[in-house]
Structure formats: structure tokens, C-alpha cells
């Protein structure tokens, strides 16, 4: 079976991505190009929503070894990636306006998004790998976009090198798994493993896959590139990496481990649990001593990735409920984290530094910026009634449920709670600087409208998802169930 419908959303994006450099010859304005990119994103999202409402298209591949299936999971993640892309493009319009290569910038974002969406609907290790590589190549270039900026170039080089290493590790893992099971289809792998059990090569490949995909998610100890890259990259790109690229890694983990490796869950659940706890703790502890906001946000992303990864071991016990929680946290985090990064970007645009101390007295100078940043910080820390609180609550309840069957899983919940308490310190510190400390300057700050809109979108989503979460949770639940065909 080969239904192009399964990749229409990606095709739309790629068409726009290809058209934009050509249009740049006609249109010089960055706003116009950003507008066209936004139209592309919206069109693709429209396609996804169409599928959501009117049923999903057919698959690419055969029933026994599907390659690409556009299902609820793919739809939800595509929407996450598209929204983040939308916000990032909005925020970038002014950022790149004087750059000769601004058309390529938008092309790259659209390309990266298409790659991520491909991953979300991929059902085979190879299609997953191709999707990851499409997204990676584009993001490497995006990080390096400011060629003359030393920090940016250094970050890009690190990103490429570590990215290459990780790519190699995951490819090695994939080939080992292929060697053991004779297939790259996730369903097929699971069936084979269920039949033949586990051996050394399988275990080795699981380790390599955790490392390879873990690089994208930036889980400890594969996180070290993230702060450097987030700090050096153009800030909208950092937002894109933290809020979208990271989520791609997670959807891969969910797919590979739940669909492909569930047969040997007893062999990896505790290890992934340990990695999750390690990740959240390391992220939060290092974030405590950061003074650069972008680095602080980077470490906070690492910690948040730990929370999301928690869903994976929990899913081995409570099934789709845990994945629902994970996806919900992924969605809420996408908005609060990209919102926070874009506030930083907006302030950088008007020459406010990236150090926490530069935010002194911000509440007086830019009340909306300070207020929205406060909302994002509170949401990230998990203060009710914001979205970050709700999604953590769902994760926690998944952990408590799982603990009734597998006791050690309570520790995941305990770690979540303790880490949340710990993280409050550095989140609230930003608010303290903005609201309590007096700044040297009291001049009002005027932020470009496009950035304000991008921030407002994220803020509204952050607040609304905390209050009216039911429809979104239902959608997450529907997406999660696709990973558990027996239950669907």
C-alpha cells in the first residue's frame, strides 16, 4: 500500500520550503517571507486537523511492515511541531530581517519541521532514522545561521560533532537489532523478540538506542551539548530545539520502546527510570547555579525531559495512561518553554542582556514581558492553575497508579515532586529579579509586535491548558492508545 495522503502534511511544508528561496528573488521583505512560511505551516496544520476530524489516510508500507502511518499520535505531535514552528517563525521575522540568507532560514525551519513530522508518523527504524536526519541536518544549519558569530559557530560545530557521534550510535544500535531480528519494522521487531527472547546483542543495541535517541532529547549523560548549543544558537532556534526537536526524540523513544521493545520491557524499564531520575536531578541541580537565562532554560529543558521520559517506564505498567501524561507534558512544555525563550529573544532584540541580572526591574520597563515571563516560570515550576501544574499532576498520578503494581515506580513520582520543589528556586529567582529588584534604568521597552504576538500565543496556551485540559487530555489519550494496539 502506498497512500501519499500519509505524507501530505510534510509535502505541503516541503513545497513551501522549496518555494521560499525562489520567492526571495521577488520579495525582499522578511515579513512577507515569514508570512508565507506561516501560511505553509498553517496549511500543513490544516491538513492535520482535517485528518483529525475526518479520519486518517492510508499507510505507506505493508500491513506486516508499515513504514509510515499517519495516526492520532502523528497528528498530535505534528500539531506540537507545527505550533512551535509557527511561534518560532513569528519570533524570527524581525530577527533575520537584515540577513542575506533569510529565505534559507525559513526553508530550514520548514524542512526541520517536516523531518520531525515524518518521525512522528514513521513505523520503521529506517524511516525514523531518515526523519531524524532530515530534522538534524536542518537544525545544524539553523544553529550555525549566524556565521560570523563566534558563539554560534562554536555551538554549531559542537552540535554537529556530538550529533554525528549520536547518529552513529543509533545507527549501530539499529543494525544490531536488525541483525538479531531480521527486520527494521517496529512491529516485526517486537514479534521477533517476543519469540526468541533476549541476548547480548539485543541488550547492547538497546543501550545504543537509548544513547542515540537520548542525544536528541538531551537526557543525562548525553545532555552536555544542549546548554552550549541553546546558548549559542539564535534564540528562536533555541526555542525550536527545546520545544520541538527534543519532542521528536521523545516520540521516537515512545515508539521504539513501546511498539518495538515492549516484549523485553523487564530488561529496560528500570534503566530508563534511572536515566529519567538522573536527568531531572542533574538538570535542576546545575540550573540552580546558572546566571545566563538561556543556559538556565537549557538546563531546565533537560530536567523537563527527565519528567517526560518518566512516562516510558510507567507505561510498561499502566500503559496508555502514562503515555497520555507524557504527551500532555510534552504539549504544555512546548508552549511554556518556547514562550520563555521568545521572551528572551524579544528582550535581546531590544538589547537587554541574557544574564539574570539584566532583568532587574523589568516589571516596570516592560510589564507585559515581565508578566508573561512570570507566567512561563510559574508554569515550568508547576504552580497551579497553569498548564505545567496540570501535566505534572497527571504524570504524578500515573506514577502513583503504577506503584500499586510495581513499587519502585513510586520513586519516579517522588523524584518528580522533589525536583519540582528544587526547580522553584531558579524559576522564581527570575521573577524576583524582574519584580522585586530595582533596575538601573527605568526607560520603557518597546518590543516588536510579531514577538509580542508569539509570546501572547504561548501565554494563552499555557493558561488555557491549565484550566480547560479535558479535550486536550482526550486527544493525548487517543494518541497514546495508538501505541498499544491491543487496547485500541
Amino acid at each position: 500500500m502506498f497512500d501519499y495522503g500519509a505524507i501530505y502534511p510534510e509535502i505541503i511544508l516541503i513545497l513551501f520550503a522549496v518555494a521560499i528561496p525562489a520567492l526571495h528573488l521577488l520579495l525582499k521583505s522578511s515579513r512577507a517571507l515569514a508570512g508565507i512560511s506561516l501560511v505553509g505551516v498553517a496549511a500543513s496544520a490544516g491538513m492535520v486537523v482535517y485528518y483529525l476530524l475526518n479520519g486518517y489516510p492510508g499507510m505507506i508500507g505493508s500491513e506486516n511492515s508499515p513504514l509510515i502511518v499517519f495516526d492520532a499520535l502523528a497528528a498530535v505531535f505534528s500539531l506540537v511541531f507545527l505550533s512551535v514552528a509557527f511561534v518560532a517563525i513569528l519570533a524570527s521575522a524581525r530577527y533575520v530581517e537584515n540577513d542575506r540568507h533569510l529565505a534559507e532560514y525559513f526553508t530550514l525551519i520548514l524542512m526541520a519541521t517536516a523531518g520531525m513530522m515524518l518521525v512522528a508518523s514513521a513505523q520503521d527504524l529506517l524511516t525514523i532514522y531518515i526523519g531524524i536526519e532530515i530534522a538534524s541536518m536542518a537544525t545544524y544549519a539553523l544553529v550555525a545561521f549566524r556565521k560570523r558569530d563566534k558563539r554560534g559557530s562554536e555551538a554549531a560545530v559542537k552540535y554537529v560533532i556530538i550529533g554525528g557521534l549520536s547518529s552513529a550510535l543509533s545507527l549501530y544500535g539499529i543494525s544490531l537489532l536488525f541483525g538479531v531480528t531480521g527486520t527494521t519494522s517496529l512491529v516485526g521487531i517486537n514479534e521477533a523478540l517476543a519469540a526468541q527472547g533476549i541476548d547480548l546483542a539485543t541488550i547492547l543495541s538497546v543501550g545504543l538506542l537509548i544513547a542515540g535517541f537520548g542525544f536528541k532529547i538531551a537526557i543525562a549523560p548525553f545532555h552536555m551539548w544542549a546548554p552550549d548549543v541553546y546558548e549559542g544558537a539564535p534564540t528562536p532556534v533555541s526555542a525550536f530545539l527545546a520545544a520541538a526537536s527534543k519532542k521528536m526524540g521523545l516520540v521516537v523513544m515512545f515508539k521504539v520502546f513501546i511498539v518495538g521493545l515492549i516484549a523485553i520491557k523487564a530488561d529496560w524499564d528500570i534503566v530508563v527510570g534511572v536515566v529519567a531520575i538522573l536527568t531531572m536531578t542533574i538538570g535542576n541541580v546545575i540550573a540552580l547555579s546558572q546566571t545566563n537565562i538561556k543556559r538556565m532554560l537549557a538546563y531546565s529543558s533537560i530536567a523537563q525531559a527527565g519528567y517526560m521520559l518518566m512516562a516510558l517506564p510507567l507505561a510498561t505498567v499502566v500503559g496508555d495512561f502514562a503515555i497520555t501524561a507524557g504527551i500532555f507534558h510534552i504539549i504544555t512544555h512546548a508552549f511554556m518553554k518556547s514562550g520563555a525563550f521568545i521572551v528572551v529573544a524579544a528582550l535581546a532584540y531590544v538589547a537587554i542582556g541574557e544574564s539574570v541580572a539584566d532583568y532587574k526591574g523589568l516589571a516596570k520597563r516592560a510589564p507585559f514581558m515581565a508578566f508573561s515571563m512570570a507566567i512561563f516560570m510559574f508554569a515550568l515550576a508547576g504552580i497551579p492553575p497553569l498548564s505545567g501544574f496540570m501535566s505534572k499532576v497527571v504524570l504524578l498520578s500515573a506514577s502513583v497508579q503504577a506503584a500499586e503494581i510495581t513499587q519502585w515506580m513510586l520513586w519516579l513520582g517522588v523524584a518528580l515532586v522533589l525536583n519540582s520543589a528544587l526547580s522553584l528556586y531558579y524559576y522564581v529567582r527570575v521573577i524576583k529579579y524582574m519584580y522585586v529588584e530595582k533596575g538601573e534604568s527605568t526607560a520603557k521597552i518597546k518590543v516588536p509586535v510579531s514577538l509580542t504576538v508569539a509570546i501572547a500565543v504561548c501565554m494563552v496556551a499555557t493558561i488555557v491548558l491549565g484550566l480547560f485540559f479535558d479535550p486536550v487530555l482526550d486527544l493525548c489519550s487517543e494518541a497514546a492508545r495508538t501505541l498499544f494496539p491491543a487496547m485500541a
Binding site: L165, A211, F215, A220, M224, D228, A266, A287, Q290
Partner: protein, 660 residues
């Protein structure tokens, strides 16, 4: 029931005044007497509604209360379900309270227009808080369950704190406010414990209707019920300033006189009496509690009266007299309940307590507001600097005289009727417990002392020659807006006692089984009162008190110095002035005992708990700094960490998989 449907609006109107004055229109109210017109209008509306509701309840009701409630908090946990309601409960008792509270509040707010005129910008705060005060007191009266009552009870405490400390720049006012708040808080805690007992004993339902109809279904036995009612009365001891928590009330005189009038006549202290009267159907099941209430009441009546004997501050004398009169009310309520327990038939105790509550509200409001007019005129509260003011303050001196006669208990003024009933109730108790002989004696002596110190007050203030020429020269009659409320109150202080002849006894019954008042015409009642020897005893006590005051402070036949002539008498007088050392005892208790405990708790909190937390957080931040150093910025080391990480994970996987 037509008006009762809207009874919930009664506390709402003053609340609106509070919100409007407190939060809106700063500029507007600078011109408008700080929002006084709004406060007056809203309390007046609430008064009209309260009168309508009360009239309806008193005339048309058949004794069954009108109840309306909303579910507020529903808890269902399988074994133990409970629901808290918010509602209104109107019976004859709350109707009476509604009249008293709304009426006196309205007069006080009108009077404030003159009394607080010179306060400038502070007026806005005054009118805002006093509106809230009135609102929450009305809410307390209308509450339909004990929890709701407790909420308003606490709010009343808060408002009294804010108003007693109205002149917050005066240290004495600030500390008096704190004292009032903290001392009544002891009572509040007891009230709360009582609530817990009720909550458990009555299976999680604190509605009056539920509790009053299911007193026998109390779970936990008589001892627990006695404990619970004792604790509830503990709340009343604090709020109504009974021994030994009485000492905050004299200090509370630091607030504006209007506030004192409100606290003493209508709100705050009356809440305690109302609480006991309200919980009567439960209280009467516990004779020990009733005896205790009667004893505390009788003792406090005498105890407080003695302290009023030689005080020279006009407001403090009135404050002690309030404590003493409240004692009377508790004496009557306690005696009535005690008698009922052994003899489930009609007795006057309950009617006497509530009747005295009403009469006292009128004459005490009159006395305080008159004292306010005197202070307004003389600019001092010290009676030693007054004297001869009746020439200058004709109206004030006249209405205050009416108040004094009334509180002294000379027929046919209102105080006579209710005091007589109180003493009758105590006397009746003698049949059931010998202790009542003592309590009756206390009551009778108090009647004598009350008459004495009230007339001492009047003579010192208005009669004789001016003792301070300067004060005298500057004194002037109060403006109309002040003396008109006084005149209205004077009429009531004289006449509210006639309610007795109109059948007060049969209207205000506690709703107990077998408690049926005798049908009696006004003539029957008059005959009953004036053929009773006790009546003449109490009249005699009052006349003797007035006579002694007349001889000492008007005629000068007896020199006041004889009271302090010998060292023993001097020492006694000093003890009274030092309030039996209670002020010192409170301070000692607060400073040594409570502060000592606080220091220990503070040490544990700051050094041990905070120290632990700070230690952990400092450690974590240091750990962050340390881990951060691992982030070298060299991509080679990152790659090395990744390789090490993969190896570790694989080893862990092997370990879990049981391979190694």
C-alpha cells in the same frame, strides 16, 4: 414567610457600604464625611429590612424557625460524610437580636457623623470598618449553623481589633487592640474545640436544626457533651469579657466612644450571650455546664462591679458596668438551664437573660453615647476634671440620668424589670442547688454597687461645682446629629422594659420540650412582681446605692476620703485600681509563659528546621556549581562522557538482564 425570604440581604447592605467606602472613590469621600452617608443609608436599609423580618417572625411565627440554606462544602469519603451549609436561621431569639443590633448600629452610625467629624481622612477607614462590623454581627445573628457562626464570630473579632486600634498611632490604642484580639482568641480556641466536639458528636452536621432536634443522638457520652458545651461557653467567656478573660474590655476603651457603644451594646460582647442563648437546647442537657455558667456570671457581676467603684475614667466605669451586667445575663441563663434540667417546666431564666440583653443594649448604648457627648464637650475622660457640666450639657445630663436610673433598676425604668427577673431566676435556683444562695447574694450586692457607682459617675460629671475651670469653659452641648439619637435611646432605655408586661416571657422561649410559659395578662404580671418580697429587696438595694452616692458625691455629708482613710482601705482601693492584678497577670503570662514557649518554638523552627532546609539547599547549590565544572566546553570531553555514559547504561542493562 415573606420578608424572611430576603433576610439574607440584611448583612449584605452594610457589606456593600464597606466595599464602596473601603475600595471605591477615595476623592469622593474626602468631601462626603468619609462616606458616612453611604454607611448610614445602608445600615438604615438593613434596619428597615431587619425590623420587617423580626416583626414578621415575632408576630406570625408559631415558634418553628425559618431556615434557608445552601450547600457550601460537601465531603463524601465513604465512612464519614458531612456537609457544611451556609444559610439563615430566624426564630424569635434571632429576631430580637436583629432588632437590637440593627437599631443600635444605625443610631451609632448617625451619631458618628457628629462625633467623628474632626477625624479628617481617617473617617473613611472608620466608616468602612464599622460597616463591616455591623455586617458581620448581623451575619452572626442570622447564621444557620455553628461553623457559619464561628466564621462571623472571628470576623467580629477582627473588626473589633481594627476599631479598638482605630487611633493606631497611639501606642495605648494599638496595644489595647492587640490585647482584645489575643485575649478573645483564647476564648475562640475553646469555641473551636467545642465545635470539634459537636462535629464528632453530632456526626458531622453542625446545623442548628440538626443539633437541636438530635441532642439525644450525641455520640460520645455525657462527659464529652459537658466538655463540648463548656468549651462553647469558653468562647462566650472570651467574647463577653467574663472572668477570667475580662481584662481586655476596659482597655478596649482606647477606641472611639462610638465603637465602645457598639461593642458594648450591640455587637462583640453580646455575641457571647447570644451564643449561649442560641445553643440553649444543647446546653440544658449538661447541668454542670449550666451551673458553671451561672457561677461565672454571678461572680463576674460582683467582681466587675467592685472595680467600677473608684475608677475616675468615665468610660472605664461604663466598661466595668458592662462586664458586670453581662454577668447578670449569664447568671440568668445558667440558672434557667440548671433549673430546667431538674424540673422540665417553665422558669424565667432564659427570658430574664435575653430580656436583660435587650434592655442593657438600649441603656448601655445611651450611657456610652452620652459619655461620648461629654467627652466631645470636655475633651477629657477624667471625671476628676469634670463636675457641674449639667449647666452646659442640659440634654446630655438629662438623658444620661435616665440611663443611670435604668441601669440602677428603679421602677418603672427598663433595667428594673429585667434585673428583677435575673435575681428571681437566681433565687429560684436555690431549691435545686445551695450555691444559688451565694449567687443570689452576689446579684443583690451587685445591684447595690451598680446603683452606687452609676450615680457616683453622674454626680461627679454633672453635679456640683466645676473642678477644672478650663474644661468647664470650653464645654458645649453636642450637635443635633448626636443628641437626637440620644433622645431616641433615652425613650427606649426608659420604656423597653414594658415589653415584659406585653408578654416578652411568652414570646422568647428557648424552644425546649415541656417549656410552656404561663398565660398572664399585664395586670397579673404586675401583681406578681409587686407582691414578691424579692422585688423590694432589689429596689431597696438600688435605692441604698443611689442614696450613698448622693450623700458622698452630691451632698458631701460623707467625705469620699473615708474610703481611703485607713491603710487597709487604701490598700483595697489600690487593688481595685490595679484591677486585682489581672493586667499584670496577663502581661506576666504573655511575656514569660507564652513568650518563653515562643522562643523555644522559634529556636526549633529557625535553627533546626530551617537549618536543615538551608543546609540541604546550600549543599545542592554547591553541588550545582561542582557539576557545572564538568561542563568544560570542550567537545572532546563531551564525546568522552557520551561514550562513558553508553558503557554505563549497557553495563546497567546487562546487570538488570542478569547477564553479568
Amino acid at each position: 414567610m415573606a420578608f424572611a425570604e430576603y433576610a439574607w440581604l440584611i448583612p449584605i447592605f452594610p457589606l456593600i457600604a464597606f466595599v464602596v467606602i473601603g475600595f471605591l472613590g477615595n476623592r469622593l469621600f474626602k468631601k462626603w464625611e468619609g462616606g458616612a452617608p453611604v454607611a448610614i443609608l445602608m445600615t438604615a436599609i438593613s434596619l428597615v429590612l431587619a425590623l420587617a423580618v423580626a416583626f414578621e417572625a415575632l408576630t406570625t411565627g408559631d415558634g418553628t424557625p425559618f431556615v434557608q440554606s445552601l450547600e457550601w462544602l460537601v465531603v463524601q469519603s465513604g465512612e464519614f460524610n458531612f456537609t457544611f451549609n451556609m444559610g439563615i436561621y430566624i426564630d424569635n431569639l434571632s429576631a430580637l437580636m436583629l432588632i437590637v443590633v440593627a437599631f443600635i448600629s444605625t443610631l451609632v452610625v448617625i451619631y458618628s457623623l457628629g462625633y467623628m467629624h474632626e477625624e479628617g481622612e481617617k473617617k473613611r477607614r472608620y466608616y468602612a470598618v464599622i460597616s463591616l462590623f455591623i455586617s458581620v454581627m448581623l451575619g452572626l445573628v442570622l447564621a444557620s449553623n455553628f461553623l457559619q457562626m464561628f466564621i462571623f464570630w472571628e470576623l467580629v473579632g477582627l473588626c473589633s481589633y481594627l476599631l479598638i486600634g482605630f487611633w493606631n498611632t497611639r501606642p495605648s490604642a494599638a496595644s489595647a487592640a492587640k490585647k482584645a484580639f489575643l485575649v478573645t482568641r483564647i476564648g475562640d480556641i475553646m469555641f473551636m474545640i467545642g465545635l470539634f466536639v459537636f462535629f464528632i458528636g453530632f456526626q458531622g452536621n453542625l446545623d442548628y436544626t440538626h443539633i437541636f432536634n438530635n441532642v439525644d443522638a450525641f455520640v460520645g457520652g455525657d462527659a464529652l457533651l459537658t466538655f463540648g458545651t463548656l468549651m462553647i461557653f469558653g468562647g462566650a467567656i472570651g467574647k463577653s469579657a467574663q472572668f477570667p478573660l475580662h481584662d481586655w474590655l476596659p482597655d478596649a476603651m482606647e477606641g472611639p466612644t462610638t465603637v465602645s457603644a457598639l461593642i458594648h451594646a450591640a455587637t462583640m460582647v453580646k455575641a457571647g450571650v447570644y451564643l449561649v442563648a442560641r445553643s440553649y437546647p444543647v446546653m440544658v442537657e449538661t447541668p454542670d455546664t449550666m451551673l458553671f455558667i451561672a457561677f461565672i456570671g454571678g461572680f463576674t457581676a460582683l467582681f466587675a462591679a467592685t472595680m467600677a467603684l473608684n475608677n475616675t475614667n468615665i468610660k472605664r466605669v461604663l466598661a466595668y458596668s458592662t462586664v458586670s451586667q453581662l454577668g447578670y445575663m449569664f447568671l440568668a441563663l445558667g440558672a434557667g438551664g440548671y433549673i430546667y434540667y431538674y424540673h422540665a417546666d417553665f422558669n424565667v431564666g432564659y427570658a430574664a437573660g435575653t430580656f436583660h440583653l435587650m434592655n442593657h443594649a438600649f441603656f448601655k448604648a445611651l450611657l456610652f453615647l452620652s459619655a461620648g457627648a461629654v467627652i466631645h464637650a470636655a475633651h477629657t475622660e477624667d471625671m476628676r476634671l469634670m463636675g457641674g457640666l449639667s449647666k452646659k450639657l442640659k440634654i446630655t445630663s438629662l438623658v444620661m440620668l435616665i440611663g443611670c436610673i435604668s441601669i440602677a433598676g428603679i421602677p418603672p425604668f427598663s433595667g428594673f424589670w429585667s434585673k428583677d427577673l435575673v435575681l428571681e431566676a437566681a433565687f429560684e435556683g436555690i431549691q435545686y442547688n445551695g450555691l444559688f444562695i451565694l449567687l443570689y447574694a452576689f446579684g443583690l450586692i451587685t445591684a447595690f454597687l451598680t446603683a452606687f457607682y452609676m450615680f457616683r459617675l453622674w454626680f461627679l460629671t454633672f453635679a456640683g461645682k466645676p473642678r477644672d475651670q478650663h474644661t468647664y469653659d470650653h464645654a458645649h452641648e453636642a450637635p443635633k446629629v448626636m443628641w437626637v439619637p440620644l433622645a431616641i435611646l433615652a425613650v427606649l432605655a426608659f420604656g423597653s422594659g414594658f415589653a415584659f408586661l406585653m408578654g416578652f416571657e411568652s414570646v422568647l422561649v428557648p424552644g425546649l420540650e415541656g417549656f410552656v410559659p404561663h398565660e398572664a395578662s399585664a395586670v397579673d404580671l404586675l401583681v406578681a412582681v409587686f407582691t414578691n418580697i424579692l422585688t423590694y429587696a432589689s429596689i431597696l438595694a438600688a435605692v441604698l446605692g443611689i442614696g450613698l452616692a448622693y450623700l458622698v458625691y452630691y451632698k458631701g455629708t460623707i467625705n469620699p476620703a473615708v474610703f481611703t482613710a485607713t491603710p487597709a482601705r487604701k490598700a483595697m482601693s489600690n487593688v481595685l485600681l490595679a484591677r486585682y492584678g489581672f493586667t499584670k497577670a496577663y502581661d506576666w503570662f504573655g511575656l514569660k509563659v507564652i513568650y518563653g514557649i515562643s522562643k523555644v518554638v522559634d529556636f526549633i523552627d529557625r535553627r533546626i528546621i530551617d537549618g536543615l532546609i538551608n543546609g540541604i539547599s546550600a549543599g545542592l547549590i554547591r553541588a550545582g556549581g561542582f557539576l557545572r565544572r564538568g561542563q568544560t566546553g570542550f567537545v572532546q570531553s563531551y564525546a568522552a562522557v557520551i561514550v562513558a555514559g553508553v558503557s554505563l547504561i549497557v553495563i546497567l542493562l546487562f546487570y538488570v538482564g542478569g547477564v553479568i
